[in-house]
């Protein structure tokens, strides 16, 4: 029988009125990969933060290798051989991989970067990482940076690794590579916990799955005996149909024509190169690509938030059929042209909403300037807020709660609800289900499909290729700021899109 690496018994943690973890039990053996599964707010991250020393549990015990331990700080966690790889990388851009890896280590004697570099190389060979130890971080791709983060914790002698949604930023090919490395680490006796929302990944990489729901352990199952449906049922507590109903586009007509768009950002980097495409009414156009391939700049150029160097953005009015040029207009000017353009940005609380304001005030963002009066009109936004809370089942004490207090899924419901309330003719959404659980994700997909039926031209920037293929009608692929291909979503494969995603990303440097 394998030996227990870490065991949690009766862990409780509460924040104010919210019981984030209640009596959670979890066992992880050496030489296994455990998936931690649960909806948003089910307490996965809180639990992992307690193991890695960021939070301290209110009650409960943690055993490592059979001995009770107290983890008060990240340093304690390291001393017990626990290493966490966070979603957001904590690396210094101008340093090399090796320099980042040894940063903050206190070793006796003279510091020898050559020896360190050699050890990094050894680790790479042992687990099959592909990494140049002397490459600077700013020259690296996202997947290479992730590799540095993983080696960083291995270098410190971690035996228990926690990976928080590691695949969110990777292409399908990179994900396959990561899983290979994880399997090698497993064979070496490391214990690994992976947090992910993607059920197919859970099924392909892990040995066992532990499911949390509302802060409590629902159970652990062997992956071999589980299916996507059975896991979803454990997570949600009831049966969920995992189907996106895609209708055929009904008489699609051109709505937004982008032609030859070039854009150079403030740092002087060309972020968009010769982008041309047409978004059609009654259709969902998907945009795939590795994070940072120009998706944000493209949407912001259309929304009037990003200066464009050359090219044109033309909107065709559905009523009159007349062309309207949108390039270099401010959001206010676009609105005053009568263009109903809605935009759900990637950064929900930093751009789409104001976290410290309540739901009503956030509704007002789009409509406050209407009318000649110098004073705010509160009636309409209040009604709208109530309507959205009722219709989209937003979980909130009331409509005067600051939105930052809501959970991720509910924040997104508020934002999407506001953006579709104006009956948009163009609806742009960026990563609308990032960090959302299955229930909320499908609610968002359904809302997008409804907008498509209402003859909006929907532009959907996504990262999960399975969803892009199931939801969209056409998909264009961005790589390094240019369009590397366009595919028909009904006749494509993940591999094809994955290939297009990496096609020109390398050619840029």
């Amino acid at each position: 029988m394998e030996s227990v690496a870490i065991e949690l018994r009766g862990i409780c943690k509460r924040f104010g009125r919210i019981q984030a973890n209640n009596n959670v039990n979890l066992t992880l053996y050496h030489g296994e990969i455990l998936s931690l599964l649960g909806e948003n707010g089910s307490g996965k991250t809180t639990l992992m933060n307690m193991i890695s020393g960021i939070y301290y549990p209110d009650a409960g015990q943690i055993f490592i290798n059979g001995e009770e331990v107290v983890i008060k700080s990240p340093k304690d966690a390291f001393d017990h051989g626990i290493g966490m790889i966070h979603q957001h990388f904590k690396l210094i851009d101008v340093f090399t991989a090796t320099e980042n890896i040894v940063l903050g280590l206190e070793e006796k004697g003279r510091f020898d970067i050559k020896a360190a570099s050699k050890r990094v190389k050894e680790l790479c060979d042992r687990y099959g990482f592909i990494l140049d130890p002397d490459k600077k971080i700013y020259e690296m791709s996202v997947s290479e940076k992730q590799t540095v983060e993983i080696i960083k914790v291995l270098y410190r002698g971690a035996n228990i690794l926690i990976l928080d949604e590691p695949t969110a930023v990777l292409t399908p090919q990179e994900t396959v590579k990561l899983f290979e490395v994880m399997r090698k680490m497993k064979e070496d006796g490391k214990a690994i916990i992976i947090i992910t929302h993607k059920l197919n990944e859970v099924l392909s990489v892990s040995d066992r799955v532990t499911v949390l729901r509302k802060g409590e352990t629902i159970g652990s199952v062997n992956t071999a005996e589980a299916t996507a449906e059975s896991l979803t049922e454990m997570m949600v507590g009831k049966k969920v149909v995992l189907n996106i109903e895609r209708t055929d586009p009904d008489n699609p007509e051109d709505r937004l024509i982008i032609d030859g768009l070039n854009c150079i950002n403030r740092e002087g980097v060309q972020v968009l190169k010769d982008i041309s495409f047409t978004a059609k009414a009654g259709e969902i156009l998907g945009i795939a690509g590795i994070a940072g391939s120009g998706q944000r700049e493209l949407l912001e150029s259309i929304a009037g938030l990003q200066h464009v160097n050359t090219g044109s953005i033309v909107y065709i009015d559905p009523e009159t059929g007349k062309e309207k040029k949108l390039r270099d207009m401010t959001p206010m000017q676009i609105r005053s042209l009568g263009v109903r353009l809605s935009f759900v940005p990637e950064d929900r609380l930093g751009m789409g909403l104001v976290g410290n304001m309540d739901i009503v005030d956030n509704m007002m963002l789009r409509s406050y300037s209407k009318g000649k009066s110098a004073f705010l009109q509160k009636k309409e936004p209040t009604d709208l807020a109530q309507q959205i809370v009722d219709r989209l089942e937003v979980v909130t004490p009331n409509i005067s709660t600051p939105v930052r207090r809501l959970s991720g899924g509910n924040v997104q419901k508020v934002l999407v609800g506001r953006e579709i309330s104006s009956g948009p003719t163009v609806l742009m959404v960026a990563y609308p289900v990032r960090g959302l659980d299955i229930n909320s994700s499908y609610l968002i997909y359904n809302l997008l499909n409804k907008q498509k039926e209402n003859r909006a031209a929907v532009i959907f920037v996504g990262e999960d290729l399975d969803v892009l293929i199931a939801l969209c009608d056409r998909i264009i692929v961005l790589g390094g700021g240019r369009i590397t291909g366009e595919v028909d979503a009904r006749n494509t494969t993940k591999e094809q899109i994955g290939y297009l995603m990496t096609k020109s990303a390398g050619g840029e440097e």
Partner: protein
């Protein structure tokens, strides 16, 4: 089961509270003031061997001793409140304007200059006072909008910029006084002492009453402006998140400049009231640091104009009390300042207990069982 190892657990850990009920929050603050008084009483006994009640009554007398003192206290509260109201819109916008002192002084200088130069021109008060009013507002606005323009266009640091502008303002006043003052003493003296031209009239036979009424009206105005007007909403959005402001199409530069114009106008207004309604002269110490104290008033009140009435009263009361202790009890003024410091420390410190909860080791263990 393994035995618990309490020695390894942290002694205390701090967690964030939910919203505390209002009565409880008020109770915490009352207790804080009570403890502050007890601590300062103890300290006074140790340091001076005097009866602490005597000290506290002296403190109270500083503001409420005589009708004259009450009126002076109200005037000081009004002026401090006026400047606090002036800095509030900028602070809501997260524009750290610490140049209120200079903006007030420049506004005051404009009023004083008009009084000085037009005092002998035969203009009646009905013309001169409105001119002074407009002049002060305009100069206050100019002084405030300069850093705002630099911030909006070149993104300069407004904190340093506004701070430097204070010293420029003080030096300009020094130059003006040096060239206007006839005696050569470097002191301006009361302007138009005999004609009382440019002096705000007394009301009910009392000076300052008009100042107090004006500031009361201004409080209501700022409250409504910040809470119910579209411009107030824009200020809040820009302050919370510039990205969101851009996203919905607010012209951030315009809002920064417009808000600083309003802020500067109110500072100018405070300068006008100080010269025309109170001192009738100009010195570089006319604002007496109120431009900085006002920031504390505004912040303690969490930018709510209604609460600012209370916080400005508190700070003036403590300040007057401190000097009164020095006089009545023949003590060094430092004793009063120590007491003021203790009270403010407890008032600000108690906010921590309203927002966070402290869990002790023992209570955590019990919960585990």
């Amino acid at each position: 089961m393994m035995e618990a190892k309490p020695k390894k657990e942290p002694l205390i850990h701090i967690t964030k509270r939910d919203v505390m009920p209002l009565w409880k929050a008020i109770l915490v603050r009352v207790i804080a003031i009570a403890i502050a008084l007890a601590v300062s009483a103890g300290l006074v006994v140790i340091l001076t061997q005097k009866n602490p009640l005597e000290i506290f009554s002296a403190m109270f007398n500083g503001s409420f001793g005589t009708p004259r003192k009450i009126l002076n206290m109200l005037q000081d509260v009004a002026m401090l409140l006026c400047i606090a109201l002036a800095v509030t819109p900028a602070f809501r916008m997260k524009f750290w304007n610490i140049g209120a002192e200079g903006q007030v002084l420049m506004g005051a200088l404009a009023s004083a200059a008009l009084m000085y130069f037009l005092g002998g021109s035969g203009l009646p008060n009905g013309v001169l006072i409105p001119m002074m009013f407009i002049g002060s507002l305009a100069v206050g606005m100019i002084w405030a909008v300069i850093p705002a323009i630099f911030k909006a266009i070149w993104n300069t640091n407004e904190t340093l910029f506004t701070l430097m502008m204070n010293y420029v303002a003080m030096q300009i006043i020094q130059i003006c006084i040096a060239s206007w003052a006839t005696s050569g003493s470097g002191v301006m003296g009361v302007i138009n002492l005999n004609t009382k031209l440019g002096w705000l009239p007394d009301l009910f036979g009392q000076k300052y009453i008009l100042n107090i009424i004006f500031v009361a009206l201004l409080t209501v105005f700022v409250f409504i402006y910040m809470k119910y007007s579209k411009q107030g909403y824009e200020i809040a959005v820009v302050g919370e998140s510039e990205n969101t402001a851009r996203y919905i199409g607010i012209n951030v530069k315009k809002v920064i400049i417009r808000t600083m114009l309003i802020s500067g106008a109110m500072c100018g207004f405070a300068g006008f009231l100080l010269v025309s309604g109170a001192s009738h002269t100009i010195t570089k110490d006319l604002a007496g640091g109120m431009g900085f104290t006002a920031i504390m008033v505004s912040w303690l009140a969490k930018f709510n104009p209604a609460i600012m009435v209370g916080t400005s009263f508190l700070l003036v009361f403590l300040d007057k009390g401190a000097s009164s202790i020095a006089m009545e009890c023949r003590l060094n003024e430092s004793v009063g300042e120590i007491i003021t410091g203790i009270i403010i420390f407890f008032i600000i410190g108690c906010e921590f207990f309203i927002r966070y909860k402290i869990n002790f080791r023992s209570s955590g263990k019990e919960a585990a069982k």
